[in-house]
């Protein structure tokens, strides 16, 4: 086989696909997104024609010439399409990018003119596709590092050149000599005690090195959820348990010299299950006599019952009262890079785990605690992470890899398949929310009552925290004095839910904003005016029933500006639509705390290098969130240099003392603040050392040379106090009542993110959040059958938004300056998701007269709702 111009003699295995062969030959730019031919991340050219290499038989390519992203440009430089993706920043995490570049490079002019069709075999979970469209069209979005302020400029991601050339190194993009492969045997039943596991046959499979079962469990309960404060999540999970609580739970792990042997070993294991009764819905789990999943008395793992003011009195004085019940679907994060980790012992015998994680430091702490290791005998590294969305704020593989490495003293890797992402990772928490709201004739809210039932699945990771968060900002954004919340978080025998962008707020906001819309209709008040009458204002307290952390305040306020942007959008003329289609507008708002409660810590260290450049060490992982770019911008401005003179080292427990992790929208507001403090400290040191001279390169070199030890600046931030960010979404839709098809005619999103540090990246984050929100609203649902099995186990059953599904969203920013966030910035990575589904529901209501209450609104469901109306 000829690969990128050079001959490769090694014969592929008979059943091998081209993707894995190419990776074995060192072409790590060829990615596994789905392994089923659906996502396009593995696209290569075979004799010049683009194919999905994951479903291309490798033996068939033996006499063919293969081009991968690494060989696209030829011997040097970048192919024009690679340059175009760099210039447009047509990526975020970049895991899909090689495939998109290889596809784009093969498009004919006709295909370029029809991208919704031509790119339907390329899934991107991060961008919402606008930046990809720009790349294909040759639009330049990024600016070059130059003199003058870096903050506020749309600088490109530092890793961009590696991403577009396929040389960025994700979790598994490295050779680990002698690595063993692990495969997990998963439960076929939803609830059972394991009576016996027969492993002898598996151990006799050639190549199998070890079989791990509950007999190897270290005997400690933990939560897969990763939070700074360990007690936020119930410790209810074992590495390998003798009770299975959902179909898909780990039962055993086989470690072997090849994936084939590990798979064969899994098939050779026989498990005797003592079946236990199972419950698949919170309603069933809360019934008297229901089987209890953990402990002894109840499946309710968290609850909140609290009131402010007097809700019944509030409803009594209302002119209009509206009450509706809503449900949201299980969603999968569908980051293009699946979960996985590879571990080994370094030369010093220290455990090293390289993982696709958002929380390297917390995962190190969790692994160390499980296996009684000192922190300094455990190291966790993340390479570039191929998408997270909360799904990787979880220890789903590292514990098992550590167990195997420590037992075998050999390197071990575990890489999830796409199907395992669906059956054995986590989902968004499905909520059932009943929202009752009352208002006076002028629209002033008199009472709000929120009842939420949160399905956490078989384990409680993130469950209570998601419930509490979901019940806070969704209500606190309204100044109504009478509020009541009754919420429960419940175990069921289903795949566990976990952290997911928005962290509960998307689910409750769907209910609150839908009911507000309905109430405005009852009172004949414009929905934007309805919001203006009731939203919390600058200087006012943020109140929601319950004991919530008291470090939250409005340190900058732009929600009024967001509403003005929406009002302007609503005034735009309606374009013509086909006969019979119905047009409607809808909007919704959302508020989110800029960071999680209870402390979120980041350390940063900046060092002057001998060549006058700087090295910035931060703990946070980079998964397309763009925090690395912003950290370099902040550092550049503080140090009066340009971002290209700053190298960022990150996401490695060796580089700084601690970092809580890249979750809770903290990359800018927490880690960024630590960077600001570290660089400010170093700058002051350098100014003193310069003795009045300008800090140019020569002076910096001289200062570095003169110093006995490297000059550094340290900075930390504990994530408190916290501000709030605001979002507002507007849609105009056309609905075909004959088919249920919804077309989005207009989409405007206004965000109050404080000072905008990188407008290009911020726009990208918002577009990606809107696209994911549209996925939740129009397409995505993980289904579970009557026996508790997930039935949507791939991208053919679980529809991710494609290029064709995502409209252009006009993104607008409020002009505010936050008193807490670094340089006035606030967070904006989770929150754009939250108002999307209710805005769409409200637009559909406006168009059709029908209030849809269950996500998602697929065409068949819309048609059924309209047909029955």
């Amino acid at each position: 086989m000829r690969i990128n111009g050079s001959e490769h003699d090694r014969a592929p295995r008979p059943g091998q696909c081209l993707r894995t062969y190419l990776r074995e030959e060192g072409c790590f730019g060829v990615k596994k997104g789905c392994d089923t031919g659906d996502c396009g991340a593995c696209t290569v050219h075979v004799d010049g024609r683009p194919v999905h290499s994951c479903v291309y038989p490798a033996f068939r390519a033996a006499d063919k010439s293969i081009t991968t992203v690494e060989g696209l440009a030829g011997p040097a430089g970048r192919h024009p399409v690679q340059q175009a993706f760099l210039d447009a920043q047509g990526f975020q995490c970049g895991f899909c990018t090689a495939g998109l570049i290889m596809t784009t490079a093969a498009l004919t002019d006709d295909q370029r003119a029809d991208l919704p069709r031509s790119l339907k075999g390329n899934l991107c979970r991060c961008t919402g596709y606008r930046a990809i469209a720009d790349a294909v069209a040759g639009v330049v979005n990024v600016c070059e590092p130059a003199a003058g302020p870096a903050v506020g400029a749309s600088l490109g991601a530092p890793a961009g050149p590696q991403v577009v050339t396929g040389t960025a190194r994700y979790t598994f993009d490295l050779d680990v000599p002698g690595v063993l492969h692990m495969k997990v045997l998963r439960s076929t039943v939803a609830h059972a005690r394991i009576a016996a596991i027969a492993t002898e046959a598996a151990l006799s499979v050639p190549g199998v090195v070890a079989v791990l079962t509950h007999a190897d469990d270290p005997g400690r309960l933990f939560s897969t959820a990763q939070h700074e404060n360990v007690t936020e999540d119930p410790a209810d999970t074992r590495v390998l348990d003798d009770v299975v609580r959902y179909a898909g739970q780990r039962v055993a792990a086989v470690v072997a010299t090849s994936e084939a042997a590990a798979e064969e070993g899994c098939r050779a294991i026989t498990v005797d299950y003592d079946r236990l009764p199972a419950v698949f819905t919170p309603a069933a789990a809360m019934r008297p006599g229901a089987p209890i999943l953990h402990g002894t008395d109840s499946n309710v793992i968290g609850e909140l019952h609290a009131e402010t003011g007097d809700v019944e009195a509030g409803f009594a004085e209302a002119t209009a009262v509206c009450e509706r019940t809503f449900s949201t679907a299980r969603m999968q994060h569908a980051s293009l890079e699946t979960h996985g980790a590879v571990g080994w012992l370094d030369d010093d015998g220290r455990l090293v785990i390289r993982s696709s994680t958002q929380t390297p430091f917390l995962t190190r702490r969790a692994v160390a605690a499980l296996f009684d290791l000192p922190l300094d005998r455990t190291r966790v590294i993340a390479g570039r992470v191929g998408g997270g969305f909360g799904g990787k704020q979880e220890m789903l593989v590292e514990d098992l890899v550590a167990l195997a490495v420590l037992k075998l003293r050999r390197p071990v890797k575990l890489e999830y398949t796409r199907a395992e992402q669906f059956i054995g990772a986590t989902t968004r928490h499905p909520f059932k929310v009943t929202l009752k709201a009352g208002a006076r004739a002028d629209g002033t809210l008199t009472a709000l009552r929120l009842e939420a039932v949160v399905d956490t699945g078989a384990y409680g990771n993130h469950g209570p925290a998601v419930m509490f968060h979901g019940c806070h900002e969704s209500l606190a954004v309204y100044r109504c004095v009478n509020k009541r919340t009754d919420a429960v978080c419940v175990y069921t025998n289903t795949v566990p839910a976990g952290a997911f962008r928005g962290y509960g707020l998307g689910q409750t906001t769907f209910a609150v904003e839908s009911v507000l819309d309905e109430l405005a209709r009852m009172l004949d008040i414009d929905p934007i005016t309805m919001r203006e009458r009731n939203i919390v204002r600058a200087g006012e307290p943020l109140l929601a029933p319950g004991d919530h952390a008291d470090d939250l305040s409005i340190a900058s306020y732009g929600l009024d500006q967001c509403l003005e942007h929406i009002r302007a959008a609503a005034r735009t003329p309606v374009p013509p639509v086909p006969a019979g289609w119905r047009v409607g507008d809808g909007m919704a708002i959302a508020m989110i705390a800029a960071g999680p409660p209870g402390g979120h810590f980041a350390d940063a260290t900046v060092t002057l290098l001998p060549d006058g450049r700087f090295e910035l060490a931060v703990g946070t992982a980079e998964f397309g969130n763009g925090s690395t770019t912003v950290h370099a911008q902040i550092a550049a401005d503080t140090l009066r240099t340009t971002p290209d003179r700053i190298t960022v080292r990150q996401s490695d427990t060796d580089v700084v003392r601690h970092d809580t992790g890249a979750f809770g929208s903290t990359g800018v507001v927490v880690a960024g603040k630590a960077v600001l403090r570290a660089t400010t400290t170093l700058y002051e040191t350098l100014v003193a050392a310069a003795g009045g001279r300008e800090l140019d390169e020569a002076v910096l070199k001289e200062i570095a040379a003169r110093a006995g030890a490297p000059l550094t600046g340290q900075g930390s931030f504990d994530g408190t106090p916290r501000s709030v960010a605001f979002n507002a979404q507007w849609f105009r839709v056309a609905v075909d009542p004959r088919t249920g098809e919804t077309r989005i005619l207009g989409s405007v999103h206004s965000a109050d993110a404080g000072t905008v540090l990188n407008p290009g990246q911020l726009r990208g984050q918002i577009e990606g959040g809107v696209a994911q929100g549209l996925g939740s609203a129009l397409a995505e649902h993980v289904d579970i059958d009557d026996e508790g099995h997930v039935t949507t186990t791939g991208f053919r059953q679980y529809h991710l938004p494609t290029y064709a599904d995502v409209p252009r969203t006009e993104v607008l920013f409020a002009d505010t300056d936050d008193a807490i966030g670094p340089l006035g910035a606030k967070s904006m990575s989770e929150s754009p998701f939250n108002p999307v589904a209710p805005a769409l529901a409200n637009a559909l209501r406006d168009a059709t007269g029908v209030r849809l209450t269950a996500l998602p609104f697929t065409r068949d469901r819309v048609w059924v709702a309209l047909d029955g109306a």
């Binding site: 059943g15 053919r796 064709a804």
Partner: protein, 260 residues
Amino acid sequence: MDLNTVAEVISPAGPGQWRPGDAWLGGGTALFAEPRPHLSRLLDLPSAGWPALTLSDDALEIAATCTIAELADSGYPLARQCCQAFLASFKIWNVATVGGNLCAALPAGPMISFGAALDGVCLILGPDGPREVPVADFVTGEGTTVLDDSELLRSITVPLSALSAAFAFRQGSLHEHGRSGVLLIGRRTADGGLALTVTAATKRPYVLRFRGLPNAEVLQIALSERIPPDAYVGDVHGLPTWRRHLTRLYAEEIRQELAA
């Protein structure tokens, strides 16, 4: 994905070679897209070198190994439209085969729609010799065909008269360019009638034949009588009631279009 239990590829393979643990391999895009732990050998067909398209005086023979890309570029408008109905991208077209789509026998398989709508006939080769089966009868249910394990699909042959007839096409999906939930093709027959082929909405193809162009009522009655309610597919690609409704809606649109 890697099919790790496969120990051997027989290339090229032919009738009579099948044994338990074998799978006929076309392009591989379906076979390699799911774990197949029961397989030990692949019987490779494309290496047999069958010509993709063979035109005779009155028919077009499409080899089972003809790729979707080759059929899409064959110049026949209905062929192009059916290829466009694939959920799979044009990159898959470069590898996936017409025969593979037929043998996968998914309701949404657009090559089934194409062959059934044009009165195509499958040529099946087996250890006991060849046999012919109409495409409309080839698929018997969701994922099932008339093929015996040891048999392979060699080609489908469609009459040129059907290929050149006036047709109308409707596809419904939950998503733009998504997987077909409903796919209807109407074709005017040589004797002035209508052949209406319902696929994707139903577990197997239904071809409704009318002597002349039916009126709206006759068409709806025929749909009700010929396609039982439980024939409609219910899965993540569409509720059965929606598929049934769209079938009726599109059938009428097709009737009107072909009447014009």
